[in-house]
Symmetry: C2
Subunit: 176 residues, 2 copies
DNA sequence: ATCGCATCGTCTGTTTCGGACCATGGGCGA
DNA sequence: TCGCCCATGGTCCGAAACAGACGATGCGAT
C-alpha cells in the first residue's frame, strides 16, 4: 500500500478495469488497443507494469487464475473505484496536445523542396480517410446498442477531428 | 561525430534553427513556445540537451558568444541541413495522436457521476475559445506579412481542429 | 555599488517509449 | 499420445521524455 502519483496511464488502467470488470494485463492491452488507444497510445509494456504499481498502492487487487497460464487478474478495490470517481469529478484545465508529424513537416516545409507538400497532403488524406472509415464502422456496429451508447460519444469528437483534418489536407492538396 | 537516431525533438531543433538562423537553446525554447509548442510541447530541458547531442552527431556546430553570458550559439552544418531536407522529403505514414484528457474522462464517464459531463464540457469550451482567440490573433498579426505566410498555414489546421472541438463540446453541453 | 529580477541554464528522479526478445500451452497432424 | 507449432501472452532493456525544483548571471534603475 505504497503511494505515488497517478498518471494518465493509471487512470486508463483503472478506468478500463472499471468498464470491463476483472482483467488481465493482456485484456487491457487489447481493450485499450481498440478504444482510447486510437487517440492516445500506450506502449503495451506499460499495461503490464502499471497494474503492479496500482496494486501496491491498494487501488487494484490481484487474483491468479487456477488453470492454464495462471495469469494475473486485476480488479478494482473500493479505493480504486473512488480514485477514478475523484478523477472524473476533478476539473480539467488541460488543453489537448495534438502530436502531428505531418503538421510539423508542414511548418518546416520552407526548408525543403516545395513539392514535398503535395505528397505529404496526399498521404494524410489517405490516413484520415482510412481512419474515418474505421470510426464509422465502429459507430455502425455499436452505436445502436444501448449498452455501449455512452462510450461511443467520444467517437463523435474523433470523427469530427478527422473530418476537419481531411478537409484541411484536401484544400492543401488543391492549392499546391 | 557520434551517431544515434533522430527523434521529433531533433527535427524541431534542427528545423527551428533552420528557420531562425543561429540560435541559443534559450532562443529555441522561446521560438518553440510560440510556434510548434502549441500543438506539441517539449520540456525546455530537452531544448538544452538536444543541441549538444546534435553537435556530437555533426548536425550542428557551436560557437560561444564573446560577451556577456558567453552563451552557446548553434547553427546548422551542411549535414544538418541535409538531415532536415531528407526528413521533409520522406513519406509520413503516421497518424496524429490527440492526447486529450477531456476525451479520456468523457470515455470513462459512466464510472462517475453524470453531472461531471457538463462541467467538463463547460471547461473545454472555455479552453478552446481561448485558444481560438490566440490563434486568430496570430493570424491577424502575421498572416499578411509575406515573410511569414508559409509558416501560418499549419495554423489554419490548428484553428479548424479547435473549432471542431468547440462545436463538439458545445453540443455536449446542450445535450446534458 | 548594489540590488532586484528577468533572463538564462542545470540537475535529478521518475516515467515513457519502442522494440527486441522470451515463455507457455492448447490444438493439430502423424 | 506424443511432440511441436505458433498464436497468445509476457518480460526486459537502454534511451529519451518529462516535470519541476533549483541555481546562476548580468543589466538597468536607483
Amino acid at each position: 500500500m505504497s503511494s505515488g502519483r497517478l498518471s494518465t496511464t493509471s487512470y486508463v488502467v483503472l478506468g478500463t478495469i472499471g468498464l470491463r470488470g476483472p482483467s488481465t494485463p493482456y485484456d487491457l492491452k487489447r481493450a485499450v488497443g481498440h478504444s482510447v488507444g486510437y487517440f492516445w497510445s500506450f506502449p503495451h509494456a506499460q499495461l503490464y507494469s502499471e497494474p503492479e504499481r496500482l496494486e501496491r498502492m491498494g487501488l487494484l487487487e490481484v487474483e491468479t487464475e487456477q488453470t492454464g497460464r495462471r495469469r494475473k487478474v486485476y480488479s478494482l478495490t473500493d479505493e480504486g473505484r473512488e480514485a477514478v470517481r475523484a478523477w472524473l469529478a476533478a476539473p480539467t484545465h488541460e488543453h489537448f496536445e495534438m502530436r502531428d508529424i505531418a503538421e510539423m513537416k508542414l511548418f518546416f516545409n520552407e526548408l525543403g523542396d516545395s513539392g514535398n507538400i503535395v505528397n505529404l497532403a496526399r498521404e494524410q488524406i489517405k490516413q484520415h480517410e482510412e481512419r474515418i472509415s474505421v470510426y464509422e464502422d465502429m459507430q455502425r456496429r455499436f452505436g445502436s446498442e444501448p449498452k455501449y451508447a455512452r462510450r461511443m460519444i467520444p467517437l463523435r469528437l474523433g470523427l469530427e477531428m478527422e473530418r476537419a483534418a481531411l478537409r484541411f489536407w484536401s484544400s492543401i492538396a488543391e492549392e499546391f
